[in-house]
Subunit: 400 residues, 2 copies
Amino acid sequence: MKPSFRILKTVGKARLGQLLTAHGVIETPSFFFCATKAALKGADLQTLHRVQTPVLLANTYHLMLQPGAPRIAAAGGLQGFMGWKGPTFTDSGGYQIFSLGHGSVHEELKGKSRPQGRLKITEEGAFFYSYRDGSPWYLSAEKSIEVQQALGADCIFTLDECTPFHVSTEYTAQAMRRSHRWAQRCLDAFNDPTAQYHRSYQGLYGISQGGIYPELRQESTEFLNQTEFFGHGIGGSLGTCKTQMYEVVESALQGLCPERPIHLLGIGGIEDILYGVSQGIDTFDCVAPTRLGRHGGALIRPYYWQTALEPFHPRESINLLKACFTEDDRPIDDQCLCPTCQNHSRAYLHHLFKAKESTGGTLLVTHNMFFMNQLMKEIRQAIEQENLEVLSKKWLARLA
Amino acid sequence: MKPSFRILKTVGKARLGQLLTAHGVIETPSFFFCATKAALKGADLQTLHRVQTPVLLANTYHLMLQPGAPRIAAAGGLQGFMGWKGPTFTDSGGYQIFSLGHGSVHEELKGKSRPQGRLKITEEGAFFYSYRDGSPWYLSAEKSIEVQQALGADCIFTLDECTPFHVSTEYTAQAMRRSHRWAQRCLDAFNDPTAQYHRSYQGLYGISQGGIYPELRQESTEFLNQTEFFGHGIGGSLGTCKTQMYEVVESALQGLCPERPIHLLGIGGIEDILYGVSQGIDTFDCVAPTRLGRHGGALIRPYYWQTALEPFHPRESINLLKACFTEDDRPIDDQCLCPTCQNHSRAYLHHLFKAKESTGGTLLVTHNMFFMNQLMKEIRQAIEQENLEVLSKKWLARLA
């Protein structure tokens, strides 16, 4: 069974939907947690179920290097290998590989120098060196599909070059058109029923590129609409600030085939998700909520501050490492129903981080995952009840 | 309510019992996992419940340094602070402090040099420096009780000097007699109803000392029997090999008041537990099963090898880091009902350790805890059914 997508309701541009896969239904809008190396850092299966995580996104680049795609295929794909029975996505591996050459978004924004000579991009694909042992690797459009078929996720992505924002319009255009050619080759490889790891239940997402340039985004949209992808991803540079990001997302979405599911790659801030949903994005993924938790950050409903009478500046998270939590015997959020807030205090979490106990990270990852899944549930209810704007105002009122 | 201990059945020297505390019943023989810094490394509360852990042992030394006993008292004791509602024990803090001066058992067995000048022992107590910030600290008999009352565990231990095996009979005797005087002072402090943190539900264990010398163990036993302790611990040096350890345990147990519960400190090997139970030990604690898990070791029923037809040397654990598990899609033990064996393969666990994913440790800690709790359950059933010897033979047959 191929995956399918159905839109249950549209309010403005926002959509309530269902993504049906061979391994379960994903209610949309939905947020995907990143099980980068076939494991969600800080959460075991029981925790994933307890916080009602609908879907995991694993990473082609990391998994092709360790333990290798054939190994995972032999174990029955990601589901068999991980023991996770729910739906999965994999990215194309491109983002990590091109980060080697271009540097990460963080490095770019900080103006850090980028390593040279670790990446070579040609029409055929990308040559790079393994971060594990320095061995040379090669990823083409066809290879990315072969690996993703071996991994066996329900939905997979085409290989694309994720250009940074500082490159010229010319380079962005050139890279985008090459990514389009790669995307077409990916689709051809994907549709080849004789491929070694061909799986009939997979869906392929094509990715919008074009950086911050509206005319290039338009060109990308035209390419995507004409090509038989199951869904679309919004990739590439989204700019340097929220205002620019929202403009880029808007121009990428303009005219994009509305019947296919749309995924916004690498975005996970509360404000950004609320904005994305209002513009018609169906799914999101980001490492931020779980990474934040491992480093002591707990997501907080911004409107919590309106009632809490606490002397904190309203923000999307609190840092449990701070000394002000040493004697704070309240839960992170007394309204939260997650296992962490039901059982543990801020003071205890603060102690765990101070004592370098990894359980601190585990408990915050649990809270943050529950929090994100709860946010997405509220968003779906708000679309159903046609009051997404009210929900957004409630969540964003104190964030300005 | 003071804790109480009742023996349900005695077969030979082995006892089936119940330790009733204000926070729940501990069926004995039982194994205590170490939540050293008020957290069990690699397991959250849900995991503790899932693997049916009856009781936790926390560490006075670590907790008095961070976050400090008054902080934990203010949070409602260990139960309130940790969110763990079941029974708890704390040790006296002595073992860690005296390890600073004498070196750890491991260092001692390896002949490593011990740091000097970090510890001074007087009749009054021990002066030492914090491993966290180098600040000077002081632990007397009275202080150990005060801290343990503040922590609020159900059962606590007297302060004792844990002498290493290499010291002379004279030093061992001298240290033992001082530990006895400390134990009496501990009891006096413990029974003082005006103490700041006095808690009526606690029970105090006095500890047998005397190292490897039977006549000193006998003297310790006489002291313990004459003194109004709730229970007894077997502490101090147990020698350098299993044979010697079993002799020391036997001589420590000889004549020890049979109505009080007996705890063997720091012992957690399968063979040692089976031996200890057969000699009349009721409870055990050790960091080994959880530490082993965090480093890639999974406990295995030794008799598993009899049916598994696997080319491994029979032993108490397997090391999942080994390359032979790379393509091993079987669970650790196909008879095991723990969440790890129910959901994950050896190959996946091997991958997690190779990819440095902390979830690998979490999953093995889960397995090892379930394994130990299952072992203790089988031991209790065997005493009930009067076939402990059969069980021991089954578990030890292939370990020789």
